[in-house]
């Protein structure tokens, strides 16, 4: 075996590649851009005012002047104690919302003592196996005073139930809770992989959380329909928006089937996207998505209330647009993406740390990521007026092009038979895998330029980061120890009773499971126990493996 082939730090022929002397003329989604755009090329030069249908220019009349976006950094690792400490550190640095990263066992519905979970406890997020851990996680954090976002899907209903139970324990009325659960299972089947149950009962569970939340936690976002993960998995900005809107429509159909009032629940639907490096394509993706969503809800469901037509979204800057080679350059990348997010009108922004391509951020890199947002917010001046790029011939033209292309993506899914079928058959998964493969080949061939990776390399470049984040190797055993203590001291009869009630309710399609899950949480039933109970009624998703 040749050594250069397996040692990524070795410099190959790429170091000597001649850089292109001209910019590419096509966006990453494949839209061919003319050298100059003129007024006559724009479909509708006057897009009306921000805060008015179809919201191309933004959902609020005063943009960020009323309120800046929420700075929300994704964070969590190891034990609840360590994560609680990191949250208080971030809040102290001026972060304005919490975003909880959960470990894979919690996300996939396994207790930390499960054999399949043992090497993953506390690795990519915090372990949250029962209410006792949630109480520690939010210790000395006022859940009425801060909005908390949970990146949780397969077990979203359970984590949301746990958060309601924390509020109950802190004596906070549930209606005061603000925050978000991701709760978007459709994209999990396609990209992120933390599915548990088959598609149809999963949709039912999501409808349960949304309908319950509308009543009991009206300021909480019970779903964040996410394009971010399919994007990071390889698809284009156009496909990211198209698949996400298609998923959103599928949730609406399910909620209507369950008797929900679209004028009411559509107000609480929110979205989540990646911002990658192509500045104008990203800005126009958001402008086009916002406009298209409002139009589709009007056309397909007759929605009238402007609040129900508003496309509210958060973003993450970074992900696969960040590069392991010369990682300090990622600070610049995230800065540019942060600006695109603001120009696109995002409601909350997570800026990834420059070392994210390698590891959980250190305090140093996490602080730079927060500071980036503060510099954009308070020094750059770009938040001063709403939609500052609106009316630019190029921006309006590209917004039109993006809208047309996104519409084609949605039409393709409709023609296939809808998202549910596309996911069950593995059709969408295969499309994304092929797209990822194309993207990789363009980077390898040099067609796509990535500074420091396939061009502009240094002979001596170090592809690591100076400071490594080290997870506490004993965190996992401490989690397991605490877990066993809770299991040994709780009231077993109460656990059995609440789980039995959950099982019975799961068998009835029209029953809302949220109250049952909250009862289970209060009894200190574990995530694994609740998931096992539901699996006994619904079975598990069988992944269609297609290549």
């Amino acid at each position: 075996m040749s050594d250069s082939a397996t040692t990524p730090n070795k410099i190959g022929s790429k170091a000597h590649r001649e850089p292109p002397t001209k910019p590419s003329t096509t966006t990453p989604s494949g839209i061919e851009v003319p050298p100059v755009v003129t007024a006559d090329m724009v479909r509708e030069p006057d897009q009306g005012l921000p805060g008015e249908f179809p919201f191309t220019r933004g959902i609020f009349p005063d943009g960020f002047r009323g309120r800046l976006w929420t700075i929300r950094q994704y964070s969590g690792f190891g034990t609840a104690e360590e994560s609680n400490e990191r949250y208080r550190f971030l809040l102290d640095k001026g972060q304005t919302g919490l975003s909880v990263a959960l470990d894979l066992p919690t996300q996939c519905g396994y207790d930390p003592v499960d054999p399949i979970a043992k090497s993953e406890v506390g690795k990519v997020g915090v372990s949250l196996s029962n209410l006792a851990e949630a109480e520690i996680l939010f210790d000395e954090i006022d859940v009425a005073g801060i909005s908390t976002s949970f990146t949780i899907n397969g077990t979203a209903s359970i984590v949301y139930a746990m958060y309601c139970a924390v509020a109950d324990k802190q004596g906070v009325p549930r209606e005061k809770l603000t925050g978000t659960i991701q709760n978007d299972i459709l994209k999990e089947y396609v990209a992120r992989g933390t599915w548990i149950f088959p598609v149809r009962p999963s949709l039912r569970l999501i409808a349960d959380t949304i309908l319950f939340s509308n009543e009991q936690t009206p300021r909480f976002n019970p779903i964040s329909i996410a394009g971010a993960h399919v994007r990071d998995a390889g698809c284009t900005a156009v496909e990211e928006m198209g698949y996400t809107i298609a998923n959103g429509l599928a949730y609406i159909d399910e909620l209507i089937r369950r008797g929900g009032d679209v004028e009411k629940f559509a107000r609480r639907l929110s979205f989540f996207f990646y911002v990658h490096m192509d500045f104008f394509e990203e800005v126009c993706k958001f402008r086009a998505g916002r406009r298209l969503w409002a139009k589709l809800l009007t056309q397909r469901y007759g929605v009238k209330d402007p609040k129900a037509l508003m496309f509210r979204f958060g973003v993450v800057c970074g992900g696969s647009s960040l590069v392991g080679a010369q990682p300090d350059n990622n600070v610049v990348r995230v800065g540019i993406e942060n600006m695109a997010a603001v120009m696109g009108g995002a409601q909350s922004i997570f800026t990834a740390a420059f070392d994210e391509a390698y590891q959980i951020p250190t305090e140093h890199s996490a602080e730079i990521a927060v500071r980036t947002q503060q510099i954009v917010a308070h020094e750059s001046g770009i938040a001063r007026t709403v939609d500052p790029l609106g009316g630019s011939y190029y921006v309006e033209w590209l917004t039109d092009q993006m809208e047309d292309e996104i519409t084609k993506v949605i039409d393709d899914i409709d023609a296939y038979g809808g998202v549910t079928k596309a996911v069950e058959d593995g059709w969408l998964q295969l499309k994304i895998a092929k797209r990822a493969s194309e993207r990789k080949k363009k980077v390898d061939s040099g067609e796509t330029v990535i500074v420091g990776q396939n061009y502009f390399r240094r002979e001596d470049q170090n592809e690591g980061v100076a400071e490594l984040f080290k997870l506490d190797p004993l965190a996992s055993s401490r989690v397991i120890e605490k877990f066993e203590r809770v299991r040994d001291t709780r009231d077993d009869a109460e656990v059995a009773k609440t789980l039995a009630a959950l099982e019975k309710a799961a068998a009835i399609d029209t029953e809302n499971l949220m109250p049952y899950l909250i009862d289970c949480c209060h009894a200190y039933a574990t995530v694994g126990e609740m998931v096992t109970t539901l699996k006994s009624q619904w079975g598990e998703f069988e992944e269609p493996v297609r290549l």
Binding site: A5, L104, E120, A357, I432, K440, L547
Partner: protein, 132 residues
Amino acid sequence: MSLNGKRILIAKPGLDGHDVGAKIIALALRDAGADVIYTGLRRSPDYIARVAVDEDVDAVGLSILSGSHKELVEETARCLAELDAGDIHLFVGGTIPSEDHDELRQAGARGIFTAEMDLDEVVAAVEADLNA
């Protein structure tokens, strides 16, 4: 030299759901002539070893982005050895810090691949190893 006639199992051990890399590599190896089998998500090392033996593969490629690579590579190597299949070559790809490479090699990984590498480099390395 090619991968014609070689059988390769691409596997996702543990709970990590990031399968893009696994699928890209699977497609690239297939384009290079190999018969590629992909396990899908959330497979235990024991399951992966059994499939590798049942399918009579020449190599197993593990894709791991969750930080659990040491445990999962060691465990898979152990399960293969238990089935007298220590001759099946083991590769690993994903988010693997260079500090961990030596340890993974000692555990039995014959190649370690990260996202920065060109697909051609990865395919060439597998080819060279299986034809050696």
